[in-house]
């Protein structure tokens, strides 16, 4: 990750509390590719081990996952299939499984194991106990 802004994480957009839920309407389909702006979306401890939670980064809704091995992943928040809440999905080291129709998306590139669809994955890392997502 050679992006220039790894150091300076900008705060989440004005008006949005840290860790506030994502509630806006999004359209299914793959979210736009990252432009590389970093946002602090919440505290690492907001995401229990093995689970996911939804946040707003700028005006993008993201789902952040903390796996049991400690690694972090972030994806677009809604499933490209039919808008399922991906943060409610189940995970393992390879994939994220959407709760609605159980499509599985690979962390490496976001592509569904069936090959037909893909979620946008975003770089995410921990900085001083905070979750920083590049969108």
């Amino acid at each position: 990750m050679s992006l220039t802004h790894t150091e300076v994480a900008e705060p989440t957009t004005a008006g949005t509390e840290i860790g506030s839920p994502a509630t806006e309407v999004a359209v299914p389909g793959r979210a736009p590719a990252p432009h590389g702006r970093a946002y602090t979306v919440g505290r690492t401890e907001d995401v229990p081990p093995g689970e996911g939670r939804a946040f707003v980064a700028g005006d993008t809704q993201v789902a952040v996952f903390r796996l049991r091995d400690g690694s972090l992943h972030a994806t677009q928040a809604s499933c490209p299939h039919a808008g399922g809440p991906l943060a409610d999905g189940q995970t393992d080291a390879d994939v994220l499984v959407c709760p609605l129709h159980l499509y599985a998306y690979r962390w490496v590139d976001g592509v569904a194991t069936s090959g037909a669809m893909a979620v946008q994955v975003y770089p995410v890392r921990e900085v001083d106990g905070m979750l920083v997502v590049d969108v």
Partner: protein, 843 residues
């Protein structure tokens, strides 16, 4: 409307690999990214052609490659457009294929060997493949086009996803549609539009429907069937004029009749796209003329699919296009330089629910000694015929009854021997002679015509370890075209897996991520004292690797094994279990409070009513399980609602004991033989919330009139008088309907409780994950179950009784528990970025 199907994030991409001068591979350019073009590229790659060729594909449509024949179900709203993507843009990138989506090729310069795109690009080629397909033919009618040559608003062809999307959108504001063309496409379009509530009239220029495939008699029967669906059919009718200036308002038939409409679909045939070939100076008659190696008169230019004319024939179906793709891939990659295509025998099926039509070959005898057998039952809408020549099937028409299609297709494709009694080709004579089963089908007979998959290929996939029908379909693509062969594929897979073919070892595993069958898995969990899902993965999974799709099953199993000593992990649970509610299509949840035996009180009802109002619950509904469902609840409202309700969870979301339905029984009913209501309440109290491999539903009825459907429950109890009760197990009336088997007739309610618990525990310990009792009971066998549970033949009864008691003791109402203190931070935080989905309407 503009979303790119199978697209990449940024929409169009043309990921150019650059002209590396050190790249010695020859340049293969394909024009047309449709069913033939894309399949050809796949066939080339499969033959290792990625090393031989630098491949560029031009597609006029901006999308990835999609399954055009599935546009009919998409228009009907039966399939989602995402489901018909065959190759996404990513697929091209992943395979090093340069896809120029959205770029139309204007012409090829065959002397300089370059193609010119309408984006101004020139692309050199060594081999050029034209796969430009066809376009909808719009017959000359005055008023159909506007001054600038575009179709009048409201008039559509039916060929592309964009046209399909536009029509789908139009169905929301339009009320009356006219479909021109009574062939396969027209009929499919008519039915699809009608399904959206439009009033549909079909205008066909010929004297009968599907005249290309059917004879007059069959066509007349088809007309009746179509009309019985509510579609008006006008035959021998030519439209001369399209009415309307801004937007279509109707059509004027040549006989003077006027049909009003606000949507006009023209499905009056297709014409091959030959413009590129013509401009490139290639020989074009009806389509681009090719030889048996699909080569045009220019030795480096080929044509495949609907734009090709081979030995005088132009095909309008996908199977020949895919045969072209195979032969050409063999030739170009050198896999079989002498491969030849000699023509296709075509078969068609109409994809219209309620009207079954399958045809193959010719439909009437053509020679004096052709045998012709017809069974016609116009009143039933059935018309069946076969044409036999020299003991071989050369044609068949099945209308209204397509049960024989598998055998006939096979006889038609393979020339297999025909029964002496020809009538057996069309009907099963009820003399007990068995149907032509999948066992007798020769290995090389074609099962999936869309994708050219043989029975042998399916068996091969099973032999290679594909354990499920889905896995076989993914591997072979069988059943992934129009889908009409799916049931045959399933039969073959089942046959192949049961017989001598080795089964996929993972089929016996309890969950996919741990290579152990249930008894071994349970033994290992006990021996190694594994109490949480992550401990199980660490100890028993290959390389300790966790597996998302195994977690839910493991959680359930551990709860059963350990009772209160289970160490819970929220990420091991499915979302429903994490928040004790059922997730809905829009990401909200449903709340079903416990209502034991279906009995409630005015106070409870008042509570529910208050809560429903307070939290603006969009729908309150009485369930099929005799309780009340509050649907469409926001996740963040769940704990407060539970608190206000003050009722325990009804477990309507879990793989667990759900409800015990009861009837009013002896207290009120004049026929009641036992107090079914009280017994139901007692059963529900004892077994509430007990998790099991799949859900368990129970019912108790006061007499064999069975008002609460006890015969079709996982456990059903029926009062038969004199204090006696019958206990049925393995019944269901959901996706499968099965009457339960009588396990025992017992003399007291105590015995009912004990036997129910014993059966539940035996099922919990021995059933596969997600195996309902309606599969479990027949698999184990009623006799065996009786011996184990009633005669204690294996000495298990004491353990079973203790096991179920352990789980009963571990029961805690999850609502009460998590309401006091969330199980994890943000347990009830919304995860919704709601898309606008059809929501539960407020009533």
């Amino acid at each position: 409307m503009t979303a790119v199907l199978g697209g990449r994030p940024e929409g169009l991409t043309s990921l150019s690999l650059g002209d590396d001068e050190f790249d010695t591979r020859s340049r293969l350019v394909v024009v047309g990214n449709g069913m033939a073009g894309a399949r050809f590229v796949e066939e080339v790659l499969e033959r290792g052609g990625g090393e031989q060729f630098r491949i560029t594909v031009f597609g006029d449509e901006p999308h990835g490659n999609y399954n055009r024949i599935m546009l009919s179900p998409v228009l009907a709203g039966e399939s989602h457009e995402d489901e018909i993507v065959l190759n996404s843009h990513d697929w091209y990138a992943d395979n090093g294929v340069d896809l120029r989506a959205g770029v139309r090729v204007a012409r090829a310069d065959t002397a300089a060997k370059v193609v010119h795109g309408d984006d101004g690009s020139t692309t050199p080629y060594d081999h050029l493949v034209l796969a430009t397909g066809s376009y909808s033919f719009i017959p000359p009618m005055s008023g159909v086009r506007t001054a600038d040559g575009a179709l009048l608003a409201g008039v559509y062809g039916f060929r592309t996803i964009d046209e399909t999307r536009a029509m789908l959108e139009a169905t929301q504001r339009c009320r009356r549609a006219v479909v021109m063309g009574g062939g396969l496409l027209g009929l499919e379009a008519a039915r699809a539009l009608q399904g959206h509530g439009l009033q549909v009239e079909l205008v066909h220029a010929m004297p009968w429907l599907m005249n290309a495939q059917l004879d007059a008699e069959a066509g007349a029967i088809l007309k009746k069937s179509v009309e019985s669906l509510g579609i008006t059919v006008h035959l021998d009718a030519m439209a001369g004029e399209v009415l309307g200036t801004e937007h279509v308002e109707g059509v004027l038939l040549k006989d003077g009749r006027r049909l009003d409409c606000d949507l006009l679909v023209v499905a009056a045939g297709v014409r091959p796209h030959t413009d590129v070939a013509v401009r490139s100076g290639l020989e074009v008659e009806r389509a681009i003329v090719v030889d048996d190696q699909l080569r045009t008169e220019d030795p480096d230019v080929y044509a495949i699919g609907e734009c090709a004319q081979h030995r005088g024939s132009v095909y309008g179906l996908v199977a020949p296009a895919w045969e072209h793709a195979k032969v050409l891939a063999d030739v170009l990659t050198g896999t079989d330089p002498d491969a030849e295509y000699t023509g296709s025998r075509t078969a068609t099926k109409l994809k219209v629910a309620g009207v079954d039509v399958a045809t193959m070959g010719i439909n009437v005898p053509e020679r004096d000694d052709d045998e012709f057998l017809v069974i016609s039952e116009p009143r039933r809408g059935v018309h069946l015929s076969v044409v036999i020549r020299d003991d071989k099937l050369v044609g068949a028409t099945l209308l209204g009854d397509t049960r024989k299609v598998a055998f006939l297709t096979q006889a038609f494709d393979r020339g297999t021997a025909l029964p002496e009694e020809r009538i057996r080709l069309l009907v099963d004579l009820s003399d007990g002679a068995e149907e032509v089963g999948v066992a007798e089908m020769p290995a090389d007979s074609q099962v999936c015509n869309c994708n050219g998959v043989t029975k042998g290929a399916i068996c091969g996939a099973v032999a290679d370890g594909c354990g499920s029908v889905g896995a076989v379909m993914d591997r072979t693509r069988a059943g992934k075209g129009c889908g009409s062969c799916k049931s045959l594929v399933k039969q073959i897979v089942e046959w192949a897996a049961d017989g001598d073919v080795t089964e996929d070892p993972s089929a016996s595993w309890y969950v996919p991520g741990i290579p152990l069958a249930k008894p071994e898995l349970m033994a290992a969990i006990r021996e190694q004292d594994l109490r949480s899902v992550s401990q199980v993965f660490a100890a028993l999974a290959p390389a300790g690797k966790e597996d998302a799709k195994s977690k839910m099953g493991l959680t359930s199993l551990l709860k059963m094994v350990w009772g209160v000593d289970f160490v819970p992990e929220k990420d091991g649970e499915f979302i429903n279990d994490r928040v004790h509610a059922n997730i809905q299509r829009d990401g909200t949840f449903s709340v079903v409070p416990q209502m034991k035996g279906g009995v409630t009180t005015p106070a409870q009802l008042r509570k529910i009513a208050d809560v429903a109002e307070k939290y603006e619950v969009p729908m309150v509904k009485v369930t099929g399980g005799q309780r009340i469902d509050l649907l469409g609840v926001r996740k963040e409202d769940l704990p407060a609602m539970w608190a206000d309700l003050g009722m325990p969870s009804g477990y309507a979301y879990g793989k667990s004991m759900r409800t015990v339905k009861t009837c009013v029984g002896s207290d009120f009913c004049r026929f009641g033989l036992g107090d079914s209501t009280q017994l139901g309440i007692d059963l529900e109290t004892r077994f509430q919330g007990i998790e099991s491999p799949a859900k368990m539903k129970m019912a108790v009825v006061g007499c064999p009139r069975n008002c609460a459907e006890a015969y079709v429950k996982d456990v059903g109890v029926v009062a038969v008088g004199n204090g006696k009760w019958e206990v049925y197990v393995g019944g269901a009336a959901g996706a499968s309907v099965r009457k339960g088997d009588l396990l025992a007739t017992v003399d007291s309610t105590e015995e009912v409780m004990q036997l129910t618990g014993r059966f539940m525990q035996y099922y919990r310990e021995n059933a596969n994950w997600l195996e309902r009792t309606y599969d479990f009971v027949p698999r184990i066998g009623l006799e065996k179950i009786k011996q184990v549970l009633l005669e204690d033949s294996e000495g298990l009864c004491a353990d079973l009784d203790a096991g179920i008691q352990r789980s009963i003791d571990a029961y805690r109402d999850p609502w009460g528990q998590d309401l006091a203190e969330p199980a994890t931070p943000g347990q009830f935080r919304p995860s919704l970025p709601l898309i606008e989905l059809p929501k539960v309407p407020v009533r």
